[in-house]
Amino acid sequence: MSIQEIQNEIVEEFSLFDDWMQRYEYMIELGKSLPLIEDQYKMDENIIKGCQSRVWVHAELNDDKIVFTADSDAIITKGIIAILIRAFSHQHPKDILDANTDFIDEIGLKEHLSPTRANGLVSMIKQLKMYAIAYQTQLN
């Protein structure tokens, strides 16, 4: 599936919920299914700054596609990064770079989209795109 298709899928899933509680409960559920980062990569260099909780992200190239794994000590943060990774993992670096992130707003997580937000969603997106740039350069 393309990034856009996955994002549409996520938006559709979230549209089933009437209120924030159900949305958050689902996000927490997703957090629990996050493809976990291997312990060896859970090091300070992989921590994303700007988060009140700690978030580690690791990226590997597999068949010209980036595979992301991550972890966090806070469950909600884990849910957020899980949603991002579901949209961006196993994709070509170029597609990741081209993708927008409007779906975050559409699934009712707009409040997390401020660059100053303590959970650092914007920093996470930036970090994923940084990996994409790095691997894109490598592929060229």
């Binding site: 958050y24 409960e25 909780s53 700690r54 806070a74 469950i75 909600i76």
Partner: protein, 405 residues
Amino acid sequence: MGLNIEKIRADFPILDRKVNGQQLAYFDNAATSQTPRQVINSIVKYYETINANIHRGVHTLSQEATDAYEAGREKVRKHFNVQHSHEIIFTSGTTHSINLVASGFGSLLQKGDEIIVSALEHHSNIVPWQMMCEKTGVVLKVIPMTLSGELDMEKYTQLLSAKTKLVFVNHVSNALGTINPIEKIISQAHEIGAAVLIDGAQAAPHIKADLQELDVDFYTVSAHKICGPTGVGILYGKEEWLRKLPPYQGGGEMIAEVTFEETTYADLPHKFEAGTPNICGGIAFGAALDYMNQIGFDKVASYEHELLTYATEKLLEIDGLKIYGESLQKTAVISFNVGNIHPYDIGTLLDKMGIAVRTGHHCAQPIMDYFQIPGTIRASFSFYNTFEEIDRLVGGVKKSVMMLS
């Protein structure tokens, strides 16, 4: 006669706000207090009628602004029962006040001299001293804390020596709410000839300190924590100390004569008030003290204590909830965690319910390190909070824990 909470709440326009569709319940008072319309009005009145640069102005606006600003200083003086109004230095807040003293003390101390901090401090009362110690070779000693979140006073006594020049401790801990035994800390330090700075940032909203009775050498306050505006605070210093300390910043107002060869400094308090100060801030700070005094600190303290007792009781009914800071001497602050749940998770869900708490290390990492936790959820109460709001907090925490488990 207790407080008329309904009437008081009507003074705070922001309390009417909805957050995420819910009525706001504001429990982040230790970070910053809300602002009554009396204080907001004083700001509007300033800009609408007397705004002008102060001191040395011959025109009426400048004169009126100067008088109002100096009246603000006088209100601070009276509130804290300070002897001379020139012992009150207006600063931009507690952090600025402490940096002023730390920087100045750097030039009075020598390598090998010792200064004593407590393990319960806010970063603002740690980092300026570390910076000073790095420059001068002065040694920083730490009064350790106990599991209940109190200072180990025996260890304090042992740390004091002929080498000790200065002790700096907060009156009330922002992270835990502990009220420190500053009378004892001050008198013991004075016995061996050391000076004492008390960081009153967290105490001022709850305790009306009598600085002459305390015989403290320096005391600091931020207006924004005591119903005042952002960007202003004070440093109280005993006259003899303020004379000894060198000026901190250079600029307008703080000088007597300037030539390129030599500059002489102005008298107190101007020596430490370089540049155009936060004129409106000083005036609104005075209005905030008027407001608080009109309500009455005794009433505030006893009502807040009721809120604290009630909230503590109710929160402790929650399975796995642990409160950090169990001193019997506490302001209305509850720092807690539930099981292994990250404070950020609970804080985020509470916010969705309109309940504002602070989460994290509260600029007091050494305390978090001591308890080996990443942070806490901190609910800090004010006299405008209600028992119903506390019920919502307790319910909110329960609901969050359910969602997160």
